[in-house]
């Protein structure tokens, strides 16, 4: 994600990748040797043909005994090679799956430990993609490309060595004649890649247009536009197919070019071999064996061009994955943590600035500028302000989900940067605006705060917040499934679960990001009741969206465009006639008409 990483070379990326996933290196040398032995299985036939022709089919007759002995040796060698190949493939598969697994786990952990500033909405998708599709390009690579490198690479190496050992002159002839193939393939390959890129983007276009026919079904009927929409899809589909056919045609020439080069190479080898004749020490068997070897040597080359492309994709995926691991993790643990004092804790905010991290060079406007306030232990404070005033961010800084870009936040007189994370989480708890519930039961979601509590203990915490009557309305009580993202519960009920969850931590400081969504009257009453019980004796900071909350608080902090503009009691601020007074006025007006609307409906 940060720029310099994109400039890592392929070699550098692979090197760093191997360091990030050391399982790849473990025992790799042995895997390579086994693959080499496995490749041996594929040169057994050419060598056997050569040996049989030179030693078995002599002019004095066919020596069946010698051929049989050679065949037995060959069968043994093939068996060993088959076993070695299987073992090499299995080892590569194991190690790569192991490596991908540990890479995924490292990513999970690292991403979860990133500052909340790195978890902005627009980045979330990218982070998910790193752990899924990017790691998946690596998985695909190991399943096909990596395997090809291992098996075909060792095969070509071995075949080339055997060819050189038989007759270096013929080997050089073969390599020289075959060499231009590499250049041709690379040229065609680059065209092919572009052709497929175009095809894929056109394919995406077809999918978009098909989905329009479905999503726009009503409009289509209301405007008799069925033919028009269908034609659009057909045109797009035709364009897509044309480009796929073009790409396929290029590919069709790519593959048999190996074929054409092999006949030239074999002809050259036979021609030169025949020209030199037996006088050069070459035998008939060696020449025939050489013909077999030449075919073997050229077989994998066409496939290699595909493998190269896949390798590039995998390296790009690896680069992105490593990029995430390069982002420094969120608020770092202090090296020498200071303990928090026991009992209630006050909160001090001292000249705090904050900006979200940017993606490019553009300067993101600061969210908070020079905010200072001291909140005494046990005080009930409401923070208010318009959308974008920075009040949610201020709450996040107090919970140290991110560190301020300048200034300090302290609790109980200790700067947050000196408080151990575990200590902080035990003493400061956030109830977010849209509480997030994981798929599972209510009990499982509550356990998230304190994993080891028994069901009975969980139930008693519900009683403590006076929510027994609510629990009894649920079909399976505390075992009720909440569904994906808590979708089976209403917004208000999700907030109730979040409050109970927060109470389990028994924090000294409670941060409450008030919900904006409307809640039915009964749940509203339950929420207020539970909240009152929960807030008792704790320092409570409410990011308030309803000014009724502010009206009840001991103190109101008013943020405007990232600055703290007013600070005082509700009554004092209303009298002062500033920002808060204006907000209050329009709020009163809107709620009274909303009340009338409710009555009318």
């Amino acid at each position: 994600m940060s720029e310099p990483i994109s400039r890592w070379t392929a070699v550098e990326t692979i090197g760093r990748g191997v360091r990030a996933a050391p399982a790849l290196r473990t025992g790799f040398a042995l895997t390579l040797w086994l693959a080499l032995v496995g490749a041996g299985g594929r040169v057994v036939i050419p060598v056997l043909v050569q040996q049989a022709i030179d030693r078995g089919f002599t002019e004095s007759g066919v020596k069946v005994g010698i051929i049989t002995v050679m065949a037995i040796v060959a069968v043994v060698l093939v068996s060993v090679a088959t076993w070695a190949q299987r073992t090499a493939v299995l080892r590569l598969g194991r190690r790569s799956e192991e490596a991908l697994y540990s890479l995924r786990v490292r990513l999970f952990e690292h991403i979860h430990r990133l500052s909340i500033a790195d978890h902005s909405e627009e980045r979330k998708g990218a982070l998910v993609a790193r752990v899924t599709s990017d790691v998946e390009t690596l998985a695909q690579f190991f399943q096909w490309g990596g395997l090809a490198w291992l098996l075909d690479g060792t095969l070509m190496l071995l075949v080339a060595s055997v060819m050189l050992a038989y007759d270096w002159v013929l080997a050089v002839v073969a390599f020289v004649v075959a060499a231009p193939l590499g250049i041709v393939l690379q040229k065609v390959q680059s065209h092919l890649v572009r052709a497929y890129d175009l095809s894929r983007s056109r394919n995406a276009n077809v999918m978009t247009q098909i989905s329009e026919v479905v999503a726009g079904a009503e409009t289509i009927r209301a405007y008799d536009a069925g033919e028009h929409f269908a034609d659009r899809v057909k045109v797009a589909s035709r364009e897509r197919s044309d480009s796929f056919i073009r790409a396929g045609t290029i590919g069709a020439f790519l593959f048999p070019s190996g074929e054409v080069f092999s006949v030239f190479t074999v002809s050259a080898v036979v021609g030169v071999g025949v020209l030199r004749g037996p006088g050069s020490g070459l035998t008939a068997g060696a020449l025939i064996g050489f013909v077999f070897l030449t075919y073997r040597f050229l077989e994998p080359i066409a496939e290699f061009t595909e493998v190269l492309e896949q390798t590039q994709t995998a390296v790009a995926g690896m680069r992105r994955v490593l990029g995430v691991l390069e982002i420094p993790i969120g608020p770092p643990e202090p090296e020498l943590p200071l303990p928090l004092p026991a009992g209630a804790l006050g909160v001090s905010i001292d000249r705090v600035d904050f900006s979200y991290r940017t993606r490019g060079d553009t300067d993101e406007p600061p969210v908070l500028v020079g905010v200072s306030a001291h909140i005494a232990a046990g005080q009930q404070v409401a923070v208010v302000g318009e959308t974008g005033s920075g009040k949610t961010t201020l709450g996040r800084l107090i919970a140290r989900l991110a560190d301020p870009t300048a200034g300090t936040v302290s609790i109980g007189g200790v700067s947050l940067t000196r408080v151990a994370n575990a200590d902080l989480r035990a003493r400061v708890t956030v109830v977010p605006q849209e509480p997030f519930l994981f798929e599972g039961s209510i009990a499982a979601n509550l356990s998230f705060a304190r994993p080891k509590l028994s069901l009975a203990e969980l139930e008693s915490s519900i009683d403590a917040l006076d929510l027994r009557d609510w629990l009894d309305t649920l079909p399976d009580g505390i075992e009720t499934e909440v569904g994906q993202r808590g979708g089976q519960l209403s917004a208000g009920e999700r907030q109730l679960v979040a409050l109970i969850r927060a109470s389990l931590v028994d924090p000294a400081v409670l941060l409450l990001d008030e919900a904006t969504s409307s809640v039915d009257a009964l749940t509203e009453v339950r929420l207020a009741r539970a909240l009152e019980k929960l807030a008792k004796g704790r320092t409570t900071i409410a990011i308030a969206h309803r000014l009724s909350t502010a009206a009840r608080a001991d103190r109101v902090l008013v943020l405007d465009h990232g600055r703290l503009v007013e600070d005082g009691t509700h009554v004092a601020l209303v009298d002062a006639g500033g920002v808060y007074a204006r907000m209050y006025e329009s709020w009163v007006a809107s709620t009274s008409s909303a009340g009338a609307a409710a009555e009318g409906a």
Binding site: H228, I245, A426
Partner: protein
Amino acid sequence: MTPDPHISWSHGAFLLVEHERMGDGTIIPEAGGRLRQAFRLVRALVRHQKRTFFTAVSGAAVFAACTVLSAVVVRMITDEVIDPRFRQGSVAASKVLIVLGALILLGFVRAAGVVVRRTWAWRTMWRVVDSLSGEVVDQLAQQPVPWHRTQSTGDLITRAGVDAEAATAVLSPLPFASGVVVLVGLSSVLLLVTDLWLGLAAVAVFPVVIIVTLRYQKRVDSFYDAAQNELGRLSAAVHESFDGVSVVKSFGAEGRETERLAVIASRLREARLSAVRLRSTFEALLDGLPTVVNILLLVGGAYRVRSGAMTVGELTSFIYLFTLLVFPLRIIGYALSEVPHSLAGWNRIRSLLDQPVAPDPSLTLARSPDRSVVLNDVHFSHDGEREVLTGVNAHIEGGCTTAVVGATGSGKTTLLHIIAGLMPVGAGSVAVPDGGVRLVFQEPFLLAGSVRENVALGADIGTDAIEAALAVAEASFVHDLPDGLNTEVGERGVGLSGGQRQRLALARALVRQPAVLLLDDTTSSLDPTTEAKVLANLKSVLVRTTVIAVASRPSTIALADDVLFLDEGRVVAHGRHDELLSTVPAYRRLIEAFEHDRAALDAAAATPVGVEP
């Protein structure tokens, strides 16, 4: 690894051509053998691409013939070039040139066969994809709204996209596979002619390779499918976990979440490992076993050469040919293993295409003699149980503007959809005038295309008419867009606000000069000033048009000539706004509620205490 790089490339992303409606319907997977099913499927697919398909197959046949002939050339190289030179001391240069010339020529013809096969196989597949997705899209575009409401959006999109490709995936390896059949036939003949007994031994191996590959492919596919499912689960869990990152952090649960995800990731690893284990064994065996057979053939051959039944060259070409065959043989197994996937895709598509087009709901409408809209005891229910409209009666005067007012769920939108002919009249009758009814939806749908295309929607409408409609709809913002009327909007184009989209949608209706214009809260996203302008324009331009507008802004309602007050699916009152205000208490209460609602929203907009992003 994969038998053919292009097959590995997309494992199901290939296909097709002209292909009309076929009456032969779905193919029952268990009926007949796999080969029979494959045959029926392919026949159905290539019906209108026969020539392309058979060109590909003949390319494959040329390839097969040349492969067999190249074995003959290898025998000639051994017996007539190398052997004389190395054993008898010399060979005629002309002989060498002829044999090598034949080798090169064969190489070229064989390569040409491959090019023809691959090009036309690919062409066949994509042309069939074209026609299959075309058929699906035609079906989607023809089916009326009630049919669409019963379908899952995702499923329909899958039919035209993924399933069309899956159905045709079998076409890509098929010409090669048929070429291999030719190859196996010709080789068998050559092998048997060269030496009957050795030939029989070699030929016996062919079916073994095919069957082993087929079984292997089936099993390994099931492992990969399982791994794919695990990957889906992992992605879902990662999504959820990263979405909930603030909760995770608040409770210091980073470690626990990592462990939870690690467990899911380890299941993916295990699923993949099962596939790797199977693959490593089978791939090695499929390499090793034919080699062992080849060695045995050599030993057997040695005896035959000794007895004079064959020459060294014949034995060499025998072994060469066998080496060449093993790999293509696997293609047959591979192609057959594609059949179940393709069949499943094909059957899903057929099940959609074989559905008759549901009756057009607009056929349930009657014609009114003048420009009025007459509703007579109209009933409607979506599910056959709870009625949304329970006996609506109204005579809406031609050329008037009528506001339809009611609380949420009172049936306003459904009523408009019925008048527009999108939903059928359940019971009772609805009469509309000739000359077209156009509905402007509350949530306008824009397609990915230019402003012009979005307004015209394929109708032949000139620039002047479009400009005029845009002017009435107060959509002059279009002229400020980078390319004016030709600016791309929708999915990948310029982002438009809700109000801008509504005005384009309004222009879309106006440009068609309908006899009846239906507005479903169409001006709800406009600011009050713009809304007032739009409504004034409509009044002055649409003198003869009957306008029926669902409205919730008191200012909008006040502009109507008439108000139709709906409550729980029936007309409670029909009359002038001020009349209803003074005579119908429920109406007055609703209007007051709307007013307060609006005031609250406007206040919130002016001083948003509300939603923090």
